[in-house]
Symmetry: C2
Subunit: 362 residues, 2 copies
């Protein structure tokens, strides 16, 4: 249901219209419409005007849902929402319409231009994504719940002996997915990774029929979705007594991950946060085996701004919610990744994922 | 794993390059890349050349996966695949590059233009989606399996007494989701609809905490995903003895759905198929309560070409796989929809969803 915080978010976008040199913002990217209105359907558009007379559009399938979720806005019911909103803007003779050039397709822009020929169409430059990078407390509450569901699901899976030699990655992954639903997830946040033995050395492995064996590192990368918000956590366990090389790699990643988490400070450059973790991995001699960035923003999307990486840019702000997930992958043998989701806070990062980061042997 | 049928599909696209007046096709829409190569990762691009020297691109996370899934193509490893392929095309001095204007964003086209300034960029006009509308037998086999999983999951749910007064839509939906995973689904095909009582009158209802009651119509719209292919089925049940109005509406929808299925003939105009079902609903006096199209193609996407609707255009071809899903929705009281997934065949449509369409009272 749309509430005050949706209106506050729209006002934040409205405050940027001048700087973006547009008279209104036509928001068509669904996840952004959801953020600004609370609407969860699969077809919608929103116009945010300088004067606050915002208009929402969806199609007839969602008439009732829109009445419930977006009671505070004028609602237009049309199948082609972007076009309907462009027609309206044309009628209103607005000179400069902001649109989402990172989301609108080339064909989509052609249609907008043909529908609103009087207006100049200008990019909004991902303004809504910029707003979304900094979470409000309503969002953090949902992220906290989503992370708690994932924590409980993994704890349950371990407790019931679900992670054991003789089971396939498929089986274990499905049980974990089911447990997330049992614990209240709307759905899983993304395709659950269960990667055993050599497969754990593949950063983004999809579960296979491979049977888990004693001595395997088993990597779980998974999350729950709640209220549209995603949790994201990785843990790597060992089946049986850990070998020396497994202990060594684990200790390196664990310490790098701790340093990365400690680097999450207001004003920190994302490249410095990445370096805080990466330098430790490099010093331990595994720099080449850590081939991805340290982390990413997480919220209505699993991957969103900011990018916490040597390839990123910019600094962290209060209430950004990001992952910290260094990994070391030894091809053909196995890999370790440890990932948490955290909120940047003035008094140090708030951990949302609570499962122990210590080496767990099952 | 990429196999012969992926190569056959690429050859079909290749055969269209002349007609599209391009020298190569840059395919960046992921689901289309998957169709043409078998690659299932989240970042990729493909160039299909007139001379058959096709090139595939993904990033370093998927190096091993790409080796396994796309062994038959030259593989480039780059983070920004579209840009890397455009650079290559620029080097090769191709005059006309086809790109997916319905999928590439405005910002994306700017980048392509800047990267390949010598070439003319021309729309592919959804050529790959056009190919995908007609399934090959490999695809139909996966769709058949996905539909069978959904059939079994619903049968299990009924058998174990999962659909009963006193449970919430949420609970029932999660159990159904879990059963699909148990029966081998990779994931559910889309967010499962469980809609009881008045909620069944909302065509696209999301499950809520509403408790099912005796006398409710309960509508299930759900599907399983397997090998990337989606099943899609709707059944509407009654809790307890059906009321006369429920029997009446059910009979109307059941007969309309039968007529729609029978309309699935090679060469049939999609508007005529829609009309075959819709006319029966209209004659019964419920024309205004059937506010959506009759069906849609289903495959690597839940909704894809062709659109089987009064708003659609074109005719059916052999091996198109479509849904037939008329519904009658009485606001505030309840609704009935019956939906199957079927393959258009020379000797009449092949049903993939097998659950009984007779009125079932629980």
């Amino acid at each position: 249901m749309a509430t005050d915080f949706n209106a506050v978010r729209r006002d934040r976008l409205r405050a940027q219209l001048d700087g973006l040199e547009v008279d209104a913002a036509l928001v068509t990217r669904l996840v952004n419409v959801r953020y600004l209105t609370g609407f969860t359907g699969s077809n919608a558009a929103l116009v945010v005007y300088a004067d606050g007379t915002d208009v929402f559009c969806t199609d007839g399938r969602y008439r009732t849902q829109a009445t419930n979720q977006v009671p505070d806005l004028e609602r237009v019911i049309e199948r082609n929402c972007a076009k309907a909103m462009a027609e309206r803007l044309e009628t209103e003779k607005l000179a400069r319409i902001g649109y989402e050039s990172h989301s609108v397709t080339v064909d989509g822009l052609d249609e907008l231009s043909a529908t609103a020929p009087s207006a100049e169409l200008r990019s909004l430059h991902q303004a809504v994504e910029g707003l979304r990078a900094v979470k409000d407390e309503e969002e953090i509450a949902l992220l906290r719940q989503a992370c708690a569901i994932a924590d409980r699901a993994l704890a349950d899976l371990i407790e019931r002996g679900g992670i054991r030699a003789g089971r396939s990655e498929f089986e274990v992954g499905r049980e974990l997915d089911g447990l997330m639903l049992t614990h209240g997830a709307e759905e899983r946040a993304f395709e659950t990774i269960v990667a055993g033995g050599p497969n754990s050395a593949v950063p983004h492995h999809r579960p296979t029929a491979r049977i888990l064996e004693r001595g395997d590192l088993v990597k779980f990368d998974f999350g729950a979705q709640l209220g549209g918000y995603h949790s994201d956590m990785t843990r790597t366990l060992v089946l049986g007594e850990p070998a020396d090389w497994q202990r060594e790699v684990y200790a390196v990643v664990q310490e790098a991950q701790r340093r990365g988490r400690e680097g999450l400070r207001i004003g920190a450059d994302v490249r410095d946060v990445d370096a805080a973790a990466r330098d430790h991995v490099k010093e331990a001699g595994y720099g080449d085996e850590f081939g991805h960035g340290l982390g990413h923003g997480v919220g209505l999307e699993v991957h969103e701004a900011p990018t916490v990486s040597y390839l990123g840019a910019g600094t962290l702000a209060e209430r950004m919610t990001v992952t910290v997930e260094p990994g070391v992958y030894l091809e053909g043998r196995g890999g370790v990744r440890i990932e948490d989701t955290l909120v940047v806070r003035a008094d140090g990062p708030e951990l949302l994922t609570m499962t122990s980061r210590d080496l767990t042997a099952l």
